[in-house]
């Protein structure tokens, strides 16, 4: 059977590369649902806050640590930036990838630990899930985000393990990055709404 100009036998269908890998499309759809989940929570918080009698934060409730959390916010944003550069290094097959990814994971871990310490202090001051509207909303919103950070942290650890084993491919790394960028991107909105 004669071949065509590209050396392929006639009659064999050309397999087209998909626009998006399945893993990436699945992660994008998942992140879209997560965006709506957080949008719903933030909207409920905004309405609850605007309905508070006596102003917000409610009188007699502990103040949230704005400055310390700003530092933590910077750490999480830096983690996202490092992940971006880790991806660039990964695509160039650069040896810097490992260090950049490790830095991103370390900053994510720092964020979780710092927030854990912050929660311990706030619970000590009397801010609990049932102490009032502030406590209820705070632990629901920030707690939901913290849960996502922990999951993202574990996903990044998994990608790091694959990287060190030499079998990380971009179809695994790409969805992991999308999830982490979502976690990083939603936090400044929460910080602005809940803390400021």
């Amino acid at each position: 059977m004669p071949d065509d100009a590209l050396g392929r036998p006639y009659g064999v269908p050309v397999k087209r590369e998909p626009i998006l890998p399945n893993g990436v499309l699945g992660m994008l759809m998942f992140v879209a649902t997560e965006v709506m989940f957080f949008s719903g929570l933030i909207s409920a918080f905004v309405i609850g806050k605007s309905n508070a009698i006596g102003g917000w934060p409610p009188p007699g409730q502990p103040r949230l640590p704005i400055e310390e959390t700003a530092l933590n916010t910077a750490a999480l944003l830096a983690s996202g930036v490092l992940l971006y550069f880790a991806n660039r290094a990964f695509l160039k097959d650069s040896p810097k990838t490992k260090g950049l990814l490790a830095g991103s994971i370390a900053l994510g871990g720092f964020f979780v630990l710092f927030q854990g310490a912050e929660w311990v202090a706030l619970i000590g001051e009397g801010l609990t899930l049932t102490s009032g509207q502030l406590g209820g909303f705070f632990y629901l919103l920030v707690g939901s985000h913290a849960l996502h950070v922990v999951v993202g942290f574990l996903i990044l650890l998994y990608t790091y393990r694959r990287l060190t084993a030499g079998n990380l491919d971009r179809f695994t790394f790409w969805p992991a990055q999308i999830f982490w960028y979502f976690v990083v991107g939603v936090w400044p909105v929460l910080y602005w709404q809940v803390y400021l």
Binding site: A32, I47, S50
Partner: protein
Amino acid sequence: MRSLGRALAAIAAVALGWAANVALACPSCASPLEENRQAFVDTTIFLTVVPLTMIGGLIWWLRRKAREMDGPPEIQVPDNLLRDVGSFTNER
């Protein structure tokens, strides 16, 4: 006569819409706090725009990528080889 009937029906529909300003379907709409009413409007707009933006953005991006992938062929065939073939089109 028929067009007059249509015009009257349209006017009636507009009049009904105009009169519907007393229909308050949400508890926050009747709130005495202006800030609360505004928050309700803001969050309604926010929750309407966010999914439309996400879905619209994905469709726009996919269309752009699909067009990029349907770009010029990988191998440029010299014109002298195509001379006897006639008009060439990339459409299927």
